[in-house]
């Protein structure tokens, strides 16, 4: 009898790119749920708009590039990019901002650089940074966290009105709804000469960081730990990032606790935890060697702190990730593991 001759290994594991990406989506659910709870339906609308636009843009680009559309849509990578971007957008961001962000991410940052696996920069962060630079005012006006069921909260219909028509209900003035993010508030008021301890008494702050924000961060932490447990994300990157951020913020906090926020505030604020587990861990654009990932993570952490504390933007995770993306190939080159049986040193 004759048989097919293919080369070993003849058995393979059950994993696939689609499975990896789907797990990232599952892991985002707790954090995204907390965001929806505290910041209203807008978060959900943004997620929906971003997903639809991302899938359409992905399909169009695949068609242009002559790639199998169904196979690549089933890898869920476009949905992951869409979600990563959507949860970073202000909950009442006008719909066209979401569209611009997603198109920048999928069309430019991903497909024009070669598509899945070839893009040097994190697509979601490119989309975010394009919006942050182009529309700084809209990007920094976040809702005041108050939860879906509360008096001032917008209904789903009102949210849709705000996002698609730019109309807010008559009963509410824009000022009552939106305000600075905790990181923004801290920066502005430090600029006015206030001490950290006094600023922290403002209602925008909760137990360790921004009220509401800290719950979203905790949700993302839970999801992120599950990603590490399932080995979808490499532990070295979040570990490096969070310890890099913790170390540098502790140093400054010890130097002058009146001018610099404590490390736990930094860890639980803005996109630190979300970035550590979901953004910086994007395998395509991060470092790939075990030691390199630690360094890469630490670099993102330190740069995030520097941009937050001394730069012009309220949060620095996006810029820090993009800057470290540039450094990743070099880090990989110098952090190759010692091959089995190679001489030490």
């Amino acid at each position: 009898m004759h048989f097919k001759t293919l080369t070993s290994p003849h058995v393979l594991g059950e994993t696939s790119v689609g499975q990896v990406m789907r797990r990232v989506l599952y892991a985002m659910v707790p954090g995204a749920t907390a965001l929806i709870w505290f910041f209203g339906w807008g978060v959900l609308v943004n997620l929906a708009v971003a997903t639809v636009v991302a899938l359409m843009a992905e399909a169009a680009m695949l068609a242009v590039r002559n790639k199998p559309i169904a196979t690549h849509l089933a890898d869920y990578s476009a949905v992951v990019t869409a979600w990563l971007l959507a949860v970073a957008l202000p909950p009442l961001a006008p719909w066209w901002m979401t569209v611009i962000g997603v198109l920048s991410a999928i069309v430019v940052a991903k497909h024009l650089y070669g598509g899945l696996g070839y893009n040097p920069f994190n697509p979601a962060m490119i989309g975010y940074v394009v919006l942050l630079i182009s529309f700084p005012r809209e990007m920094s006006s976040w809702l005041i966290p108050q939860g879906i069921g509360q008096a001032h909260a917008l209904s789903l219909i009102e949210t849709l009105q705000a996002i698609f028509n730019g109309l807010l209900p008559d009963r509410l003035a824009a000022d009552a709804l939106t305000g600075a993010t905790p990181l923004d508030a801290l920066r502005t008021q430090l600029g006015l000469g206030l001490a950290v301890a006094d600023i922290r008494n403002s209602p925008v702050f909760g137990i360790v960081a921004g009220s509401g924000w800290e719950w979203a961060a905790s949700g993302f932490l839970a999801g992120g730990l599950w990603l590490i447990y399932t080995r979808v994300a490499a532990w070295q990157i979040p570990a490096g990032l969070l310890s890099g951020l913790a170390v540098i913020s502790t140093i400054f906090y010890l130097i002058d606790p009146q001018r610099y926020a404590p490390p736990w505030f930094h860890l639980w604020s803005g996109a630190a935890i979300f970035g550590a587990f979901f953004i910086a861990t994007d395998p395509v654009t991060a470092s790939t060697t075990p030691r390199g990932r630690l360094l890469y993570g630490a670099g993102v952490g330190v740069l995030t702190y520097i941009i937050r504390s001394f730069g012009g933007y309220p949060d620095g995770v996006a810029f820090a990730v993009l800057l470290m993306n540039i450094a990743a190939p070099t880090i990989d080159l110098y952090t190759q593991p010692k091959v089995f049986g190679a001489r030490r040193g």
Partner: protein, 512 residues
């Protein structure tokens, strides 16, 4: 030093051991015709000793080792040699090789056998006996054992002797069964090895999914000083360098052998054949083979070398419907054979008939997403994805910078790759390309040297002639007057003659 020292990476794979490890080993039926390859080992092909038409006895040497790294081949049964010719053999290349084809007479008449007391013989005499008994490593590599049993040439005494009963590949259970059934004989063989190598300690590594084998080996080791070390079931713990690391913490150098760090390693099946060779004077004419997968009665058979795969399948109840691939060895490192008519060799530890149920489904290959799952899985601590990028881009020198040749082709990277990239295939391709280039380079270098040598020879001959002429000229001018034309012709024809024939033939032979 009783702890274990885990190697980096590795996998928990599917196991599929219970299909075939429940029943005792049976002898396979004597086939009518045996096709015995003369190359069943690493090294030079054995020189045929039998001619077509000759009658041979069971155990009679029919192939003589040719050189130091070579092994003897014996007739597995008595009968008539009907041909010495090229036949299909189980080899990944699919190319035929020289075989002695024997028609059995069904009488199983043995050649005269002689047991010896190895303790009274000179070690070199014991090694010679094993060499002429055709003992090679039965773990799959089939390296001539006598070479590994020679301690001279290694300055330092052997620290550790390891007996490898890990059997980490899925599906294969032949070592499991022989450890359960022949533990005392294996240990007797191990005594011979230890006698020759005089190691400081003797360790037996067995994966902990084989409790019965471990119990049998522990019992057989009582009072010997040999230590059974159960190791975690983690592929590829049976790979030599990984097992050495696991048991001794020593890393075998990149381009070295375990003996370079004072360790020598033998398979349990090899120890058994050493025992048979010494205690009974029996050469290696059979081995235990696992027949499993999509067959009706998976089992372990003791098989005469040269038996066609198809007969073993038939004795195992035949194929079940839907067999797509027939794999010699395990599913991780074994190779698929094109035809089940090829014979069992000393390297055949398992026949795995694989249907879609046993095989990985064909899934679309996606681009590498640099997730690094391969880095975490690689037991050689390589960066498989960098190797992949460079192999794919045909940047072979860069692939070598990333230690391509440290790759043991265990398949862990392919197994965990979410993009389903055929990574191992890329590495094999790159290695083959590099070997081909090296061969080209050597050929070119050889041609250059030959050209140089020829120029030098012509120059030398010219000078000698000139010198002769100068000597002759004054002594016999009268003769010289007659001679010059002749000599001129001779000199001329020497130049015109094709360069000495030896280079051309050598080139022809070197290209194998």
């Amino acid at each position: 030093m009783s702890g274990l020292f885990p190697f980096h990476g590795g996998l928990k794979t599917v196991r599929h051991k219970t299909e075939s490890n429940q029943q005792p080993i049976r002898w396979s039926a004597l086939p009518h015709r045996l096709t015995v390859p003369l190359r069943q080992h690493i090294g030079a092909i054995a020189k045929p000793l039998a001619r077509a038409g000759e009658r041979v006895l069971k155990g009679q040497m029919i192939g003589q080792p040719d050189g130091y790294i070579s092994a003897a081949i014996h007739a597995p049964t008595s009968g008539k040699v009907i041909a010495v010719e090229q036949q299909p053999v189980p080899h990944p290349s699919g190319l035929p090789d020289w075989c002695v084809v024997i028609e059995s007479d069904g009488e199983e008449r043995w050649v005269e056998r002689q047991a010896v007391d190895y303790r009274r013989l000179h070690p070199s005499e014991v090694r010679n006996r094993l060499r002429s008994a055709g003992v090679v490593g039965l773990g799959g590599a089939a390296f001539p054992s006598a070479v590994k049993l020679n301690p001279s040439g290694h300055a330092e005494a052997l620290e550790t002797l390891i007996l490898n009963g890990a059997e980490c590949e899925p599906w294969i259970t032949c070592d499991d069964r022989i450890m359960r059934e022949r533990a005392a004989e294996i240990i007797a063989g191990l005594h011979v090895i230890a006698h020759l190598l005089e190691p400081r300690e003797v360790l037996i590594g067995i994966e902990d999914d084989k409790p019965e084998a471990i119990a049998a080996m522990v019992a057989a080791c009582a009072g010997t000083g040999f230590a059974v070390r159960p190791v975690p079931t983690r592929y590829p713990s049976g790979s030599v360098k990984q097992l050495v690391k696991l048991l001794t913490a020593k890393e075998t150098p990149v381009d070295g052998l375990p003996v370079d760090v004072g360790v020598q390693c033998f398979n349990v099946g090899t120890a058994y054949t050493i025992y048979r060779a010494i205690e009974f004077g029996e050469p290696v004419i059979s081995r235990t083979v696992t027949i499993t997968g999509h067959v009706n009665q998976p089992q372990n058979l003791e098989v005469l070398l040269g038996t066609p795969f198809s007969e073993l399948i038939a004795q195992s109840g035949g194929y079940r419907d839907g067999v797509e691939r027939l794999i010699m060895g395990g599913p991780m490192m074994g190779f698929a054979v094109h035809d089940d008519g090829v014979p069992v060799t000393k390297a055949t530890n398992c026949l795995l008939a694989a249907s879609a149920a046993e095989l990985a489904p064909l899934r679309p290959v996606m681009p590498c997403i640099r997730c690094g799952a391969c880095v975490d899985a690689c037991p050689a601590n390589l960066l498989p994805q960098q190797l992949y990028w460079h192999a794919r881009a045909k940047e072979f020198d860069k692939a070598q910078d990333y230690h391509l040749f440290s790759c043991i082709e265990c398949g862990c990277c392919s197994y965990v790759c979410p993009s389903h990239l055929p990574l191992v295939q890329y590495y094999r391709y790159a290695k083959n390309e590099i070997w081909a280039q090296e061969k080209e380079k050597q050929k070119a270098e050889l041609a250059r040297q030959r050209h140089q040598a020829r120029l030098e020879r012509l120059e030398r001959e010219k000078q000698e002639r000139d010198a002769k002429l100068r000597q002759k000229a004054p002594a016999s001018r009268a003769v010289a007057v007659e001679n010059p034309p002749n000599e001129a012709v001779a000199a001329h024809s020497a130049k015109a003659a094709p360069p000495a024939p030896e280079p051309a033939t050598e080139t022809g032979q070197r290209s194998d």
